[in-house]
């Protein structure tokens, strides 16, 4: 590979990280919050897909993409709150309910989304952060959607709030030891309900990014499992909001490898290049999983890592 090809691929990876990572980031941050409270919601794929549909429909109907984003968040909030409420019933398994909600949310989105496949809705605008460069591909790679920046700010805020605020402490305590939280007079069910609902809200916004910005269209194949993958990334990121952002960026960048290698003429074995995000994540997990810190950082109440 020549230097200029390498440059093109690297620029594409930066661009890919910025373009593709946002839905992963929002879902992963939402899930991170939920899991910090000791509950797992595997069904955020459903929130993501429903959010994508609702955002597109909302933007098309009202003419305002940001209203669409809000509606998407609310639809995710409703699904998340339902999940949170059901899981507080005794003997109900949160993983199972999550998977059920994945299919319920997707079903609703496909059912009500039919009339919105055809129309073109107003989409979110990007902020051209690459204005300083005369290189068009750098300029393009740095077309940044405000939601991307919101996601990063949110991660920083969450990271700070979990460590330094009373609310953060309550969430973490609920997740690490229900007994001690109860002893402190915390309503565990309420904390988890709110954390799951908030997680659902964020996932819905992740879906809005898909349909209203990139790729910026609503159809039934839009997500291809991104919500599920994002939930898995939380485990990969070891329940740290900042690391969730890194994981999402890495995943987005790796996803750009396949198409950009082909664009510089390297296309042999493109199936494996296209699978690069999965292969890379797996190898990093294997390489890093042995460290003791991995086990220590998992919320103690989480069913999936017990």
């Amino acid at each position: 590979m020549s230097d200029s090809s390498l440059f093109i691929v690297l620029i594409a990876m930066v661009g890919g990280a910025i373009r593709v990572s946002t839905p992963f980031m929002f879902v992963a941050l939402g899930e991170c919050l939920t899991e910090k409270s000791g509950r797992i919601n595997l069904g955020l794929e459903g929130n993501l897909v429903l959010g994508a549909m609702v955002a597109y429909a909302g933007s098309y109907t009202t003419g305002s993409p940001w209203l669409g984003v809000l509606f998407a968040g609310l639809s995710g909030l409703v699904l998340g709150a339902m999940h949170g409420y059901i899981c507080k019933l005794p003997k109900v398994n949160d993983i199972a309910v999550g998977i059920a909600f994945m299919s319920f949310g997707t079903g609703l989105a496909f059912f009500f989304g039919k009339p919105y496949i055809q129309p073109t809705a107003p989409r979110l605008e990007a902020i051209p952060l690459g204005w300083w460069s005369s290189n068009p591909s750098i300029e393009q790679a740095l077309q940044v959607n405000p939601l991307f920046l919101v996601g990063i700010a949110l991660a920083v805020f969450m990271s700070w709030a979990l460590a330094n605020t009373r609310w953060g402490l309550i969430v973490r305590m609920t997740g690490d030891s229900a007994a001690s939280a109860r002893a402190m007079g915390v309503s565990i069910d309420l904390v988890r309900l709110l954390a799951t609902a908030a997680g659902g809200f964020l996932s819905g916004i992740g879906g809005a990014f898909l349909s209203l910005y990139y790729p910026g269209s609503w159809n039934e194949g839009l997500s291809s499992g991104q919500g599920l993958m994002a939930v898995a990334l939380v485990i990969f990121a070891r329940w740290d909001p900042i690391r969730c952002v890194y994981a999402a960026l890495l995943f987005g960048a790796a996803g750009a490898i396949g198409p950009s290698l082909q664009s510089v003429g390297i296309s042999q074995g493109y199936y494996f290049f296209n699978a690069a995000p999965y292969i890379l994540t797996l190898f990093i997990m294997i390489a890093s999983a042995r460290s003791k810190s991995a086990a220590r950082e998992a919320p103690g109440e989480l069913s999936i890592v017990k």
């Binding site: 059901i86 019933l89 998977i99 059920a100 319920f104 485990i235 797996l282 999983a289 042995r290």
Partner: protein
Amino acid sequence: MTAVVSPAPIAASRGLDPRAISSIEAILIPVGALVASAILFSVFLLALGKSPLTFFSLVWTGGFGSAFSIQNSLQRAAPLILTGLAFAIPARIGLTLLGAEGALVLGGFSAAAVAIPLVTFGFPAFIGLPLMALAAMLAGGVWIGLAGWLRHYRGVNETISSLLLGYIAIAIMNFFVEGLLRDPASANKPSTMPMGDAYRVGSIPGTSVHWGLAAGLILAVVLYILMTRTTFGFAARMTGGNVRAAKAQGLPVGFLVVTCCAIAGACAGLAGFYEIAAIHGQANASLVAGYGFTGILVAFLARQNPLAIIPVAIMFGALDAAGGLVQRRMAMPDATVLVLQGIIFVVLLVSETFYGRIPFLQPRKTGDRT
């Protein structure tokens, strides 16, 4: 909490022993949940101005209403029984695996790959087909077994690794099917070499349902016995309950984990074998049909019980079979059945909470809920 605790004598005075209560519950609760889902979905339909009566009569017609419909449902249920088992068995040992889809794809692909030399050198089908099945089970078993191994020996979370391995399995299949092992004649649908009619697994006599259903039924029974009536099953369930206690007891936890995962992978791989040998006759991208993910739901609704997987998978098959009819007759989108399925799942899972809490069945509860 308090509602749960009730004096034992009431149940005793009605002459109900705990076992009878739990069997009554095991029937009453799921049936009640199905009725409740039907009511909820009817409200949904009425809100859209559609007739629930028409809908449910179509579901009956499409799922069970004729010999054709029943066979249609059973055929669709066949892979789901196997992928359901692939989720349920590791779940008993406390693992959440999302890798059945990948194991199915890799298993089916391996079967088709092994078939190429067998068919080329003219091996008879009675030797070739078992070898193919073996290859499929081996490939699936190794793939999921790997997730189990990574979990136990390297501390890699099995949920995420199995999901990732699934995507990688699909990439491997596509790479070979569209490259090295592509049959030039397969033109616009890249596939491996067709195995020919001699190498096909036929239908169960008197039906149009392929033998994968029988394999699923047998495996469900065998695995039920393995998990409930043998030392292995007891040790596995104990590990699932509490790993530390199991280790303290000197149980070979690593062996149990990897074996349960390998069994799961073998089940999914076998489902892949039947997709190849009974349906496609060659491997191609159609192997990726989502059976692995539906299997997760099947297993959960069956509460990880291998025997209960059978009726649940048939219910899924029937809904699937009826979906087309609903689309055609009611002019409703194909997602209608997805919505109904979603409602059924959620309500069935909510119904779990009623076990041991139905007022008129107040059981022997002494407040020992954990």
